[in-house]
């Protein structure tokens, strides 16, 4: 891969995370499943569980359809106070590459703001992801959202 190609890919990956977090922060959850492959794996867990090899996910999806169901539940079934996220992403790193599949790590931080205005540092942690080239764009084949903290403030509604 030439220098230019490498650079272009780098920016593509950065754009993937950029689009991903703008989608969540703008509450455009209906678009969220589209960032994943159909057979994707998505899990939010804590570093404590992750390092202990415990499989539990606070959100645990083994298909894009399960992500869609998560969204429809948030829209149609679950009750939670109006709130918004703001993601900051940093230090995206390619860990491993195998053909069209890349393993990635990135740091993130989520600030949650409630309708009355109280802002809290809601989550910090690492994305441990696998992306795959599909239809000319990168999609998440696996996304492990590994939270540094084992504690969740009040509830976890919107995905991370």
């Amino acid at each position: 891969m030439t220098g230019v190609e490498a650079v272009v890919r780098r920016l593509e990956l950065e754009e993937l995370y950029t689009d991903y977090v703008h989608c969540l922060d703008a509450d455009e959850l209906e678009r969220w499943p589209d960032f994943f492959t159909e057979d994707c794996f998505y899990r939010i867990t804590s570093a404590e569980n992750y390092e202990a090899g415990l499989p539990l996910g606070l959100i645990h999806a083994t298909s894009r359809n399960m992500l869609k169901d998560r969204v429809s539940a948030l829209r149609e079934a679950n009750i939670y106070e109006p709130q918004r996220y703001r993601h900051l992403v940093s230090s995206i790193k390619v860990l491993k590459e195998e053909g069209a599949t890349l393993d990635l790590a990135a740091n993130f931080l989520v600030v949650r703001t409630m309708q009355e205005g109280d802002m809290t540092l809601f989550a910090a942690g690492a994305y441990l992801d696998q992306v795959r080239r599909e239809g000319g764009t990168w999609k998440f084949a696996r996304k492990n959202v590994v939270l540094d903290s084992r504690q969740i403030d009040t509830l976890l509604a919107i995905p991370i």
Binding site: T45, E48, A73, A77, N78, Y80, L155
Partner: protein, 416 residues
């Protein structure tokens, strides 16, 4: 303590357990009294699963109310528990949440305790070259860690600091005990843990857990997918003294036909016609318990919950962190005997519960809604009349009987 708290809330409303003054959820005096009278009082509180401490020397830390506790597997193979406070100057003896050690050595001055909390040695007890050291009168025996009474129910380990608490088995009783055994039918295997910080008084969460009335009204998921409906066969078992409860839903055959049920839910927001799932497969329950109970929520006074929702099993511990702050700790389990498919199903069904759970998310918020709503209404009361005024077992769940039962057990301990 008595007069201290008797004063602010002297006369409980004449309606008895059908009324609760909102002050009970916000008054710091009430909270302080609870720590002393309930959490350090004659109640058994969940400490751990026996399987978390397989080897002598294994330990973990937890809390009785706000008091830190160490739980160990002793050299004798037994489980022991003590207050996590050094007898010297009060330092935390164990700093890690879990670990393994041959003995418990305080980092501050290296006083050493055995795994049962007995003081083994005091650094430089004899001083140096005849100077310094502890006085001759100092007696190791008198300076051990404060010990808890420990008792187990199946794999569940409980502890208490009170000599008055009855034996654990009789504390729990057969009615509720048999419902614990029903769920814990194998050797528990932990699938993962999590914790929720709730910005409300601990009792608001515990009331919620025991509230058979709210589930299918607050949680649309239950109703829409018929995981549970008030119109399904079901009921609530309540220990005689009101302290413990188990609510249950039986197989999905409605007691009334579906049309009637839908009609009964007509106009109730929790029935969401327009809510469909693309992949509802994970909601298919696997045969496991040898009965037709699809959901069972069980609580032991004052702060333990055992949940079975289809094949999702979790232990919940409710830890008070202040008058308006609570930590809710979740331990999701399966069993050593589980086939891989069963583990996968439990993991999929774990989406139902916990901080992001389809049928539990709301419970993390509703207590805080109440906490915020009652500002300035400390002298007014909540109304607990659904199902009448008593707290006896019922083959029906349109009742707040088990919530009243909680207060029935709570009030004498608090001198109310």
């Amino acid at each position: 303590m008595q007069q201290e708290i008797a004063q602010p809330i002297l006369n409980w409303p004449s309606e008895g357990n059908a009324r609760v003054p909102y002050r009970m959820f916000s008054d710091p005096e009430v909270y302080r009294a609870e720590l002393a009278r309930i959490f350090l009082g004659p109640t058994w509180q969940y400490l751990a699963l026996a399987g978390e401490l397989p080897q002598p020397g294994d330990y973990l830390t937890t809390f009785l109310g706000e008091t830190p506790v160490i739980v160990t597997r002793g050299q004798d193979g037994e489980i022991h528990a003590m207050v996590n406070r050094c007898a010297h100057r009060g330092n935390l003896v164990c700093l890690k949440r879990r670990g393994h050690a041959d003995n418990l050595t305080c980092v501050y001055h290296a006083w050493r305790y055995d795994l049962e909390g007995n003081l083994d040695s005091v650094a430089f007890r004899r001083g140096i070259a005849g100077k310094g050291g502890m006085p001759a009168s100092f007696n190791l025996e008198e300076h051990g860690l404060k010990k808890l009474r420990v008792d187990t129910f199946g794999d569940l380990v409980f502890g208490t600091l009170s000599p008055e608490a009855p034996p654990l088995a009789s504390y729990i009783g057969n009615l509720i005990g048999s419902r614990i055994h029903r769920v814990l039918h194998g050797k528990p295997k932990i699938l993962g843990t999590t914790s929720q910080i709730l910005h409300n008084n601990w009792k608001l969460y515990f009331e919620n857990v025991r509230d058979t009335y709210h589930a299918t009204l607050l949680h649309a998921f239950f109703t829409t997918f018929r995981i549970s409906r008030l119109t399904s066969e079901g009921g609530v078992d309540i220990a005689e003294n009101g302290a413990h409860h188990a609510s249950y839903t039986r197989n999905k055959v409605d007691r009334v036909d579906q049309a009637t049920s839908d009609q009964l839910y007509a106009g109730i927001p929790s029935l969401r016609e327009n809510f469909r799932l693309a992949d509802p497969s994970f909601l298919t329950m696997a045969e496991e318990f040898g009965d037709d109970t699809t959901t069972q929520i069980l609580s032991l006074f004052p702060n333990f919950v055992l949940q079975q929702i289809q094949n999702s099993i979790a232990l919940r511990l409710v830890l008070p962190k202040g008058p308006d702050k609570t930590e809710l700790q979740w331990t999701y389990i399966g069993f050593e005997e589980d086939a891989p498919e069963m583990t996968d199903l439990r993991l999929a069904q774990a989406n139902l519960v916990g901080p992001a759970g389809y049928v539990s998310m709301e419970d993390g918020a509703v207590g805080n809604f109440i906490q915020r709503a009652i500002h300035g209404s400390e002298e007014e009361c909540s109304v607990l009349e659904m199902g009448g005024f008593g707290h006896v077992s019922e083959a029906n769940r349109t009742t707040e009987a088990s919530v009243r039962g909680f207060w029935h057990a709570y009030r004498p301990l608090m001198g109310l």
